[in-house]
Amino acid sequence: MALKLYGAAMSTCTCRVLTCFHEKSLDFELVPVDLYAGEQKQPPFLAKNPFGQIPVLEDDDITLFESRAITSYVAEKFKGTGYDLIRHENLKEAAMVKVWTEVESHRYNPAIVPIVFQFLVAPLQGNSPDQTIIDANLEKLAKVLDIYEARLSSTKYLAGDFYSLADLHHLPYTYYLMKTPAASVVNERPHVKAWWEDISSRPAFKKLTEGMNYVRK
């Protein structure tokens, strides 16, 4: 089996890659990494990813890290298989996918990560959610989602009228956000809400949601 993904079933970044695998109906092996034991920070794992984070993809002789780089690689390598996530036959559509992939990475992600962390991970570390951090980031996220709302009132998905990698990258963190009181930031925006309901109901993503829960084992 060529594709080996090191990660964890509840990890957002691992799920970003797993969703991509499922959209393309690819065979792969998921090798669990014990985050609670800090396995990702130990030397054997650091040899794969010197930044000590999951996921890591091993494909024959190459090792990749950074989930968005992995999805990009997989979407390109297997562009002829399963769903075309990158519009590989149309340069301009492909460019729009890249634009909104960057938007997710540099604008959406930095705002949503601290919110999800406070609600879901901080309690596991014995802390209550820090409302100051949540509020500050919700304000940022709201501004970003106002732009998404405008965008999604003219196109069905972010890069155009086609589902793409740009939409997919939003799935894992948003899934967790929707389980918290912060879900209102999505629900209050009708086009964003409709887009969310659409992309989160795709079978490729639904396959993962059972494993997506932050419970200390």
């Binding site: 950074e66 990009s72 460019a95 938007v103």
Partner: protein, 187 residues
Amino acid sequence: MAVKVYGPATAVCPQRVMVCLLEKGVEFDLVHVDLDSGEQKLPEFLLKQPFGQVPVVEDGDFRLYESRAIIRYYAAKYEDRGTKSTGLHTRRESSESGSKVTPTWSKLSRRKLEKVLDVYEKRLSRSKYLAGESFTLADLSHMPATRYLISEAGLGHLVKDRKKLNAWWEDISSRPSWKKMIDLAGF
């Protein structure tokens, strides 16, 4: 009709685009945007870029923003022209390096930055450039922020103290496209 690049020549993200276009020999007109007066947040500009940031590229009636998306578009569009800077593997290096380094540099968080640069030092002892033996978008992407780090931020020793990193920087910053960009930016 030349490609229009909106942004000041002195800003990091427009520079990323300019260097790429210079590498590919694509003619462009730089349209200055006055960041100090907040021109990028005015309604007319927000029509071009809803997040109110530079750069924006207009190529005929096709408009793009997000500098890393722009350079990938042009690298793909002109794959056979100028420097060959894309490839399956290079794509992953562009993504993985950029997000680790740029936010750290703008926050100037020394310890984090030094740890990241140590990883780069190790990487560059295995290959001449970040993605392998050829100069690619991965290296290009880093150039504007590295220059800023050395010049305005006065942290050049962080690069000079790392042998491979320094050699890499000396190499890539001697490229004609970079020198031309420095000229355009008036540095």
